[in-house]
Amino acid sequence: MKQKFNVITSTCVPLQLENVDTDQIIPARFLKATTREESFFGDNLFRDWRYNTDGTPNPDFVLNDPTYSGCILVAGKNFGSGSSREHAAWAIAGYGFRVVISSFFADIHKNNELNNFVLPVVVSEPFLAELFASIAKDPKTEVEVDLPHQTVTNKATGKSEHFDINGYKKHCLMNGLDDIDFLVQNQKKTELWEQQNK
């Protein structure tokens, strides 16, 4: 949590599936925890794809393939659809991912990642397709995510893209600040609004 963000260069874990919903990222039966232990959620990230019903690791799932490692998850479009559970973002952060790259994110999950200092990076479909191809060809392919300059670079091909993030959130991520700090500091403005909208 609140790990300041700047430039990250890492190998990637490719999850070449579309419409990955938050029920898959963390199934509902793991939402009963009343604390925020990220290691618990991280251990159960993609639980039902990652483990067989008898609890043994599923060797066909990418997180169990030692070929792939790194703190960047690369996923197909519409990542994080469905339930608003922030536990999905806690699981991603708890596993050790700091960046998720996809061509499209579901709204609520995208906010949840940002609020947990995991950076969702939206890239074009061709960039994503090429990145999956680069990783397939060489699992040691590195990607550089440069938040200050808002660029993402596939080091295997040298291709680079700009990604969007608003200036406020970028400042928060780079300085370890969160929205609650901001909102509490702005309570006078909230009270003024209440006065004007009775």
């Binding site: 579309e18 039966r29 009963k32 197909g76 609520i108 906010n111 608003n166 200036g167 909208n197």
Partner: protein, 458 residues
């Protein structure tokens, strides 16, 4: 511009953060036991009190068993989570409707039925189906736990303003076609990401003719097209529904409120970022065949011959084949309930097919009212007698088998016809296979034991 969404959103803007999101004032925060404990912990860690505790309502619904609610919850982890909400509500001075209280039920059923969700409001909850409350003519959307903490701490949230979309459904719904079928049809047309980034206003003859229960079902499912929220402009149907409810304005306040609510509509010159128009004649009773709510067909149609990425994986999970028709497929479980279809009208619909028939012997049916108020009305209308005569039992309120956080889990491999909102892999229990459908389709499956077109039984 000049859409109803703009009007409600803009009125609630406290400030526009420079090169950043909007600070939006929130009129109502609902908390359930699953997505709130870490927010309360965060408040304690920061030494904060709730800024406007009177605007926050709490109730457990996800973990509550649907039987023996007067006894302690057997699962100790579920019990702890439910107890934690009660303790937190007390500590922070918030209204809490505990299990077995006559006020308890699924948060998205209770809010509207108590008059806590009203036209023109901004409403949030740590739950994606908060979009349900949009049926009241409100801007309502689901949020994460960090955002729940934001609202507790400041009664505000930081959000980028979504784009606006209008979906118009013209014509008249045919026999046996319900709001659920309209929503399932829209999801299949738009896919599960087709409305991501948008707030949807539903309009057209079909929407205007829907009851409040139908509108609540339609708005509930907005998130399944990716939309953050969906709403219906308030009209006489809305006002008639609200009038007299516990927290509805009374007397002079009522007249003032209605006068204001009547102004809540998109201007004739409103410009939406996207407009889509559909015809009711194209919609028949619907079912899903895959592992996201957008993978759906008309009940008489066949599964498509081919689909996009994930199509084969989904069919593999469901045990279906491309090109297969599902009519006549054997069903193991039927679930009536959830914030999608756990209201009185849904029980009336189910009972209309169950009446004079018998539950199929090899089907397990779980009928779960959305709240104790719904349960009461079921009994007042005598629907309990009709259902019991047909071999059905009415359980106690809660989210139940929609996401199986309590004991109501569909066993691995079993096929369920469910009136809930998601058919994701494992949603109703690890390995469970879910077909989403309306209460009429669910009832038809329950009495015949197979996927059946309800129009043949009406």
């Amino acid at each position: 511009m000049n859409t109803l969404f703009d009007k409600i959103w803009d009125q609630h803007v406290v400030q526009q953060v420079e090169d950043g999101p909007t600070q939006l004032y929130i009129d109502r925060l609902y908390c359930h036991e699953v997505t709130s404990p870490q927010a309360f912990d965060g408040m304690r860690a920061r030494g904060l009190k709730c800024f406007r505790p009177e605007k926050i309502y709490c109730m457990p619904d996800h973990n509550t068993p649907t039987h023996d609610q007067d006894k302690p919850i057997e699962d100790p982890v579920s019990k702890t989570q439910v107890d934690t909400l009660a303790k937190n509500a007390k500590e922070f001075g918030l209204t809490h409707y505990g299990m077995m209280s006559k006020d308890n039920g699924i948060i998205h059923v209770v809010g509207p039925e108590k008059g806590l969700s009203l036209p023109g409001m901004t409403i949030v909850c740590g739950d994606s189906h908060t979009s349900t409350h949009g049926a009241m003519g409100a801007v309502a959307f689901g949020i994460g736990t960090s955002e729940v903490e934001m609202v507790m701490a400041s009664q505000c949230i930081l959000q980028q303003k979504p784009k606006s979309m209008r979906i118009t459904v013209n014509g008249t719904l045919g026999k046996g076609v319900t709001a659920k079928d309209v929503a399932l049809y829209l999801m299949a047309q738009l896919t599960t990401s087709g409305a991501t980034g948008y707030f949807v206003e539903y309009s057209g003859d079909v929407v205007k003719a829907l009851s409040m229960e139908g509108r609540l079902t339609l708005c509930n499912l907005s998130i399944e097209m990716g939309a953050r929220g969906g709403f219906v402009a308030p009209d006489e149907t809305t006002f008639n529904y609200i009038k007299g409810r516990e927290f509805a304005p009374k007397g002079e306040d009522w007249d003032k409120a209605v006068a204001y609510w009547k102004t809540l509509k998109s201007g004739d010159d409103a410009v939406f970022d996207k407009e889509l128009v559909f015809d009711a004649a194209d919609i028949e009773p619907r079912i899903t065949y895959g592992t996201n709510p957008g993978m759906g067909i008309g009940i008489t149609e066949a599964i498509p011959e081919e689909g996009g990425v994930g199509f084969e994986k989904a069919l593999g999970y469901m045990g279906f084949e491309a090109g297969q028709k599902l009519l006549g497929t054997k069903v193991d479980y039927v679930f009536l309930g959830a914030c999608t279809n756990g209201r009185i009208e849904d029980f009336r619909a189910f009972a209309s097919i169950a009446k004079g028939r018998k539950k199929a012997d090899d089907v397990v049916a779980w009928l779960v009212p959305g709240s104790w108020a719904v349960d009461k009305q079921i009994r007042e209308e005598g629907l309990d007698k009709v259902l019991e005569a047909a071999g059905f039992e009415i359980r106690q309120p809660g989210c139940s088998a929609c996401l199986a956080m309590n004991d109501d889990k569909i066993p691995a491999g079993k096929l369920s016809v469910s009136t809930s909102n998601r058919n994701f892999e494992g949603r109703q229990g690890p390995g469970a296979r879910t077909i989403l459908a309306s209460p009429l389709v669910a009832a038809a499956a329950a009495v015949t034991g197979v996927i059946t077109d309800p129009r043949t039984l009406l």
